[in-house]
């Protein structure tokens, strides 16, 4: 989902910065509040920052497709840290990747924050909360959150590409074309991300249930 440098029209690339900045500011506030409440939040923040940085940079080949892609990590981070804090973590990871790892770009940083950090976090977190309220178990809710958070990220990337690069075609058609072209590679990775997210939540619930006290709808 890392839209490369210069691929979006300058006006649109700049416009994506405004909502991204608002979410990042919300992330700073959420992190400050939670750090003041729980000492171990700092360790979880460090753990998730390293996790999101690595998994969103890792090119995973999908057998039979021939292209590589990556999971997002932000749905899991959003469940454990809170959705705004996960946006902050994702934004920092994307900045590092743009500056030093030839992934994404500075001009497209705002757009990439909106897709991976905001959409991934909020879709994942929203799915988790909704699924838990509907009575799903912790693992199933987390798995669904990982799966849909991953796909939401690519849905928003497709929208950004459609808005910026639709040319003479209609935006919905370009959006659908781009999103469908992502699916063969991304669906297997979204399933893997869902399984991983579920596995981590269940592991934490078994090993250290007290960590999940700050997590909404934890067991």
């Amino acid at each position: 989902m890392h839209i490369p440098e210069g691929m979006l029209p300058a006006g649109q690339a700049a416009a994506w910065y405004a909502p991204a900045a608002a979410f990042v500011a919300g992330g700073i506030v959420q992190v400050k509040r939670r750090l003041a409440r729980a000492a171990e939040y700092k360790a979880m923040l460090g753990l998730m920052a390293a996790f999101v940085f690595v998994v969103s940079l890792m090119p995973v080949p999908v057998p039979g497709i021939g292209t590589v892609s990556h999971p997002c990590g932000t749905p899991l981070a959003a469940i454990l840290l809170g959705p705004f804090a996960a946006v902050l973590v994702g934004a920092v990871a994307l900045l590092m990747q743009a500056l030093f790892f030839a992934h994404g770009g500075i001009t497209t940083w705002g757009a990439n924050i909106l897709s991976m950090a905001v959409a991934g976090s909020f879709a994942g977190y929203g799915t988790y909360v909704l699924a838990r309220r509907l009575g799903l178990g912790l693992g199933a809710a987390a798995g669904l959150a990982g799966f849909l958070g991953d796909l939401a990220t690519y849905g928003v990337t497709s929208l950004q590409l459609a808005l910026g690069l639709h040319g003479d075609q209609s935006i919905p058609v370009v959006w659908a074309t781009a999103f469908v072209s992502f699916l063969p590679t991304q669906v297997p990775l979204a399933i893997a991300e869902g399984l991983f997210t579920a596995g981590v939540l269940v592991f934490i619930a078994r090993q250290r249930e007290d960590i999940l006290k700050g997590v909404e709808l934890a067991p």
Binding site: P4, G6, M7, L57, G64, F101
Partner: protein, 102 residues
């Protein structure tokens, strides 16, 4: 033991699948999706930063970044889930790395 066996089988199946397809594994899926659209509208990737990271330098920064993130992950993991046998006064800790050595 049974769980580890399942993990090993799954990883082996994945690696086997990757190798069996014989693809060149070139390009991120986003680039593959973006390029046709960019060509239609005349957009192309630009270099904005005064430096570029390519070739062996890219390998180096990936390795360094991965190692740094790995250390950060491990450090914080240990803080949260550190093994019970690694607390002050525990037998394993007192033995350190010399455990089992005369």
């Amino acid at each position: 033991m049974k769980r580890w066996l399942i993990v090993i089988v799954l990883v082996a199946a994945f690696i086997g699948g990757v190798l069996a397809t014989g693809s060149r594994w070139e390009g991120d899926v986003t680039e593959a999706a973006t390029e046709p659209l960019a060509q239609q509208t005349g957009m192309e990737e630009k270099q904005v930063l005064p430096w570029s990271v390519e070739g062996d330098l890219l390998l180096f920064v990936f390795l360094t970044g991965g190692a740094a993130a790995g250390f950060a992950f491990g450090y914080n993991w240990h803080k949260l889930f550190g093994s019970p046998g690694n607390k002050p006064g525990d037998e394993k800790r007192e033995q350190g790395l010399g455990r089992g050595v005369a």
